[in-house]
C-alpha cells in the first residue's frame, strides 16, 4: 500500500538511520513510503507571532503537494516536522483569513517559461484535506498493534527501554499532542507491543535543550544530563525517541556531558523505528547502528540470544 511520507531535511543526511529504519520497518508491514515531489524544509519552527506568517508558506506547500498527488494523509517521523506540519494545518483550519493569505503566497509558485511565455505549472490552492500523522499514531490507529505483533520475529523482552517524548510530540497542549501532554502513554504502548520492557521515568516529557544546544551549549547539556541520569536511575538500558534533534543532544553530545559531569556513564539512544525494525526482524546492517556516538550494539546483544520466536 502506498503512503505519503515526509522525511524532512535532517533525515536525508545526518540521521539516515531514522529514515532507513522507518522504510525497512514499514516495508515489512506492507507499506511503500512515497515522498511528495519537490519537498522542501518545513521551517523547523512554527512561527509564533502573526507578523511572521510567511513561515507557514513552506509547510503549506508540502501539504498542498501531498493533496495534489491524491494523498489524504502524510506521515512523519521527525518530531519537529510533525509539529510544524500539524500546527500549520490546524492554524489554517481555524482561521479562514490566514488560509486565504497563505494561499495567496502560494500563487508565486506559478512558473512561466521564459522563451514561450507559457505557464509550466498552474496555481493550486491547498484545500485542507490532508491529515498529518506521526508514525506512532499511524501504527496505533491505522495499522493496529495486532497486525504489528503478528509480524514480530525477534524477542526484545530483555531490553529495558525508557521512552522519551520530548516537547514537540506533546506540546503545545490542545494543538499538537499525539497524547495527553502531562500523562502520555502512546510511546509506552508502542514499546510494550513490540515486546520491550518499558521503564517509566519522570523526565520523559522534559525538554532536552532543543536548539539552545548551539547557542548556549552548557545550559542544554545540563538539561540533557538530567534526562539521561533520571533514565539510568530508573533502571533503563537505553532511551528510545523520535526526534533527530533530541538524538543529537542526547547521543552525539554525550562527550560534552561527560566532560562536565563526572558521574555520567553514557547511555545508548535509539530511534523508535530502529527498535521496531529490530523486532520485525530487519537486518541490522540496514539500521545504521554504527552511526551512534554511544554504540548500542553491546546492549542489543542481550537480545540476540533469544532471536526468532516463531
Amino acid at each position: 500500500m502506498k503512503l505519503h511520507y515526509y522525511p524532512g531535511c535532517t533525515l536525508k543526511e545526518k540521521t539516515t538511520n531514522l529514515d532507513d529504519s522507518t522504510r525497512a520497518a514499514m516495508e515489512v508491514l506492507g507499506y511503500e513510503l512515497v515522498e511528495p515531489e519537490n519537498w522542501t524544509c518545513c521551517g523547523a519552527e512554527f512561527p509564533l507571532t502573526e507578523e511572521k506568517i510567511v513561515g507557514l508558506a513552506a509547510p503549506t506547500r508540502i501539504l498542498r503537494q501531498v493533496e495534489l498527488e491524491g494523498g489524504d494523509k502524510v506521515v512523519t517521523t521527525c518530531a519537529f516536522c510533525f509539529n510544524v506540519l500539524k500546527r500549520t494545518n490546524e492554524a489554517l483550519l481555524k482561521d479562514p483569513l490566514k488560509h486565504k493569505r497563505i494561499n495567496a503566497y502560494l500563487r508565486d509558485d506559478i512558473k512561466i517559461d521564459p522563451l514561450t511565455k507559457k505557464k509550466t505549472t498552474d496555481f493550486a490552492e491547498y484545500h485542507e484535506t490532508v491529515w498529518v500523522l506521526h508514525l506512532m499514531e499511524f501504527i496505533k490507529y491505522q495499522i493496529g498493534y495486532d497486525k504489528v505483533k503478528s509480524h514480530i520475529k525477534r524477542d526484545l523482552a530483555n531490553l529495558k527501554v525508557a521512552p522519551y517524548y520530548g516537547c514537540r510530540l506533546l506540546r503545545p497542549a490542545g494543538e499538537v499532542g499525539i497524547d495527553i501532554p502531562d500523562d502520555p502513554h502512546i510511546f509506552e504502548e508502542f514499546l510494550e507491543n513490540i515486546g520491550c520492557e518499558v521503564v517509566d521515568f519522570p523526565f520523559k516529557q522534559e525538554c532536552c535543550g532543543s536548539y539552545i544546544s548551539v547557542s548556549l551549549p552548557d545550559a542544554a547539556s545540563e538539561a540533557s544530563y538530567q534526562i539521561l541520569r533520571s533514565a539510568r536511575y530508573c533502571g533503563a538500558d537505553m532511551l528510545a525517541l523520535s526526534c533527530p534533534l533530541c538524538y543529537y543532544n542526547l547521543d552525539r553530545r554525550q562527550d560534552r556531558i561527560k566532560e562536565r559531569f563526572f558521574d555520567f556513564t553514557g547511555m545508548p539512544i535509539l530511534f523508535f523505528t530502529q527498535l521496531l525494525a529490530l523486532a520485525l526482524g530487519v537486518d541490522e546492517k540496514v539500521l545504521g547502528l554504527d552511526q551512534h556516538y554511544y554504540d548500542p550494539r553491546p546492549v542489543l546483544s542481550k537480545m540476540h540470544k533469544t532471536e526468532v520466536v516463531s
Binding site: E45, L48, T49, R171, Q205, S210, V214, S215, L245
Partner: protein, 135 residues
C-alpha cells in the same frame, strides 16, 4: 528587587505591542508561578518566566528587553501546557524578541556556529536557531 513604576505613553505602547504580537492577554496572569516551576532552563535565567510576564504587566520595558531569559526559551511549551489561565509564554517571548530585533544585532547568526561542530550539526537545529535568534 526595587523598581520604580511609571506607566506613561511609551510603556502603554510596549504592553499593547507585546499583547498584539503575541495574541496573549498579559493581564490574565495571577502569578501562580507554575511556568517557572516547570521551566527546564529556569536555573540559567536571570528573570524567571513569571517575573517576565509581571514586568510586562508593569511596563518595565528596559528590564525585560535586557534579560537573557528571552534567549534561553527553547519553546518547549511546558509553561503553556501548565498555565491555569492558558497563557502561551513562548509566544510572549517571541513577541518581545521580535520587538527588539530591529534595534539589536543577531543574537545567534551564521558566524556564531562553532567550526568544530559545523559538520555534525543537524540541519534542523540551524534552521530553528536562526529562526528564533537572528533577524
Amino acid at each position: 528587587m526595587r523598581v520604580k513604576l511609571k506607566i506613561g505613553e511609551e510603556e502603554k505602547q510596549f504592553i499593547e505591542r507585546v499583547s498584539e504580537l503575541s495574541g496573549q492577554d498579559v493581564y490574565k496572569c495571577y502569578q501562580c508561578g507554575r511556568c517557572s516551576a516547570g521551566c527546564p532552563f529556569a536555573f540559567e535565567m536571570d528573570l524567571l518566566p513569571n517575573q517576565i510576564i509581571r514586568m510586562v504587566q508593569m511596563g518595565l520595558q528596559d528590564e525585560v528587553i535586557h534579560s537573557k531569559t528571552l534567549y534561553l526559551c527553547a519553546s518547549c511549551f511546558t509553561c503553556q501546557s501548565r498555565c491555569p489561565k492558558g497563557i502561551d509564554l513562548a509566544r510572549l517571548m517571541e513577541a518581545i524578541r521580535l520587538l527588539i530585533e530591529p534595534k539589536g544585532k543577531d543574537q545567534f547568526g551564521p558566524n556564531d556556529v562553532p567550526t568544530k561542530l559545523a559538520n555534525e550539526l543537524p540541519q534542523q537545529v540551524l534552521v530553528a536557531v536562526y529562526r528564533k535568534f537572528s533577524k
